[in-house]
């Protein structure tokens, strides 16, 4: 997927209960790519950025309207269709991470065809990839992996990529999920791929690069998840990571939503990820642990970090709370 920046973020007419994860992520992570927000009457959300009409946004140089919210049910709402069609007629690409497809709405489809703009459904994006080759690619790769879903793999990868760049290193964030793709403007929604092509898509995502270049790849799912481990393994194999950062939530005892599936210990998780990754990169090593301590107070967070460090002997931190410097140090050190 390739997206055209800068963006106008669409918030629709949602009340205060909807999820603005995508819109907030864009404002947090690529504020200079976001010209403003478009809110319909009744919208109670505010990203704290300028309110723009479609025409204001186009005059200001916007190239895409991005749907920045996930309403209950995750579908495009009838009340949005005319506005989205108007945006398309005005020359903006329309980008959606929702479950329903933009082209299933006749006015949007017609408007896009007439103005030759793209309708990008990030969640259901599909194209043909070759199957994985396993062939070694040049450059360095680090992949975030996890004991479970939704505990910081994207955030850890984005923070780590930023720290590496701040240090003057040659690094790229590689997005594999919809929010990461919208933030970075490109990537591959790896969980939308047909099974046989997952590792091939992951190979395509991080192509050969300069020997000192780091691809920082957003992980997906978990090897310990009864539904999503397949995607995780294909991503691990195709990424050929030299290094991995293990993400974990110390307050979680079992797979989220699966009470019968206890999480592995950190040493077990490390062993299993290294074992899996060494199929395509015999040097693959977990170099650090990223804890999500958002449910702990500061003292408990420091205690959790110290415990994880003692358990694993690896650099450990919560990148939200304490920054990702330690992880960047461990990463650079691991390749000496």
């Amino acid at each position: 997927v390739e997206l055209k920046k800068p963006y106008l973020v669409f918030l629709g007419d949602v009340g205060s209960s909807a999820v603005v994860k995508t819109g907030q992520g864009l404002v947090d992570w690529c504020p200079s790519d976001v010209l403003g927000q478009l809110r319909l009457p009744g919208c109670e959300m505010d990203l704290g950025i300028p309110d723009l009409s479609i025409q204001d946004a186009v005059s200001g140089g916007a190239r895409s309207l991005v749907i920045g919210i996930a309403p209950d049910g995750g579908r495009i709402q009838d009340g949005w269709v005319e506005t989205l069609a108007e945006a398309a007629r005005s020359g903006l690409d329309i980008v959606s991470g929702l479950h329903s497809r933009l082209e299933d709405h006749e006015p949007i489809r017609v408007a896009a065809a007439e103005s030759s703009v793209n309708l990008v459904n990030v969640r259901s994006y599909q194209r043909d990839f070759d199957v994985g080759t396993g062939a070694k690619r040049s450059g360095k790769r680090v992949l975030t992996v996890g004991t479970d879903c939704a505990l910081g793999k994207k955030y850890t990868a984005m923070t780590l990529a930023r720290v590496l760049k701040d240090r003057g290193l040659n690094a790229s964030f590689r997005a594999t999920g919809q929010t990461g793709i919208m933030i970075s403007g490109g990537g591959i929604p790896i969980d939308a791929m047909i099974g046989d092509f997952i590792s091939g898509a992951a190979e395509h995502l991080s192509p050969s690069a300069a020997h000192d270049h780091w691809d920082v790849i957003e992980g997906q799912g978990s090897l310990f998840h009864p539904a999503y481990a397949a995607v995780t393994l294909g991503l691990v194999h195709g990424s050929q990571p030299d290094a991995m950062v293990l993400c974990h939530d110390p307050c979680r005892t079992h797979v989220d939503g699966y009470p019968d599936f206890p999480l592995p210990s950190l040493p077990t998780a490390i062993r299993r990820y290294e074992e899996a990754a060494r199929l395509t990169n015999p040097n693959a090593t977990v170099v650090g642990v990223s804890l999500n301590t958002s449910r702990l107070d500061d003292a408990d967070a420091r205690r959790a970090v110290a415990e994880a460090q003692a358990d694993t002997g690896l650099a450990c931190t919560d990148p939200v709370r304490f920054g990702a410097e330690l992880l960047a140090d461990a990463l650079v050190q691991s390749q000496r």
Copy 2:
């Protein structure tokens, strides 16, 4: 996928070099479901079954025409389209395992719509499944797994299911690939599923059953394959196998087509499959080894079987050469 039997097998106009794996598989495995073959002028293949016209087949009770050959390129040939359309007009479902889709050919699509018959593209079949739940299902399951692709997982599963039934046990073969689906008349082409839904599809394939019932599930790919391990892991997790049979070709030293990927030893493969499967079934155990000794003479085959038995301490045989009785014994024994 559910297919309507009996079949008329279509061999087209292929010369002697084309692959008749599907047609031959049907004749070998479900001869009573195959009424005859339909050959166009120029066809040099012969399955040794009656030549039937479409009308003969329909009068004889045929309900589907199955494309039994894979021409070079794996596509439906222009010269076949009129015959396939005529079969559809005559009331036969059309079943294809080829890469191109039946409905992409206008005359076939129109004929099928007019006569309300089904066009079944087994290879690209997709429907919505729920994601895997990991919930324990009643009944017993055995899954064939492999050190590589294409070394006997389907054959081993079908032979084992047949032996179990011959012993009066309650058993079903569960197909996960196109040839197996055509033979058994149903199943799910697991490698055509979107990554997030692989384990959910596998759960759907072998639903809860009587406590003494065995689902004998056809494995796919290999955990040691740089392209296909994702599908394998999802199938392992969703199948929740109580038992696994490890399939191996003793003449193969590396993954077929991937010279840089050596095959694992049998003990390593056993350990890794048990480790993976125990996420969803803590009792999952490899109970036997199925060797494909087709490239060895009889003496060397016996030697290979003895070596594998010594290496693993498990029941070992080549089911093609020596029958699957030993594997059935080991399976039944394992659940005592």
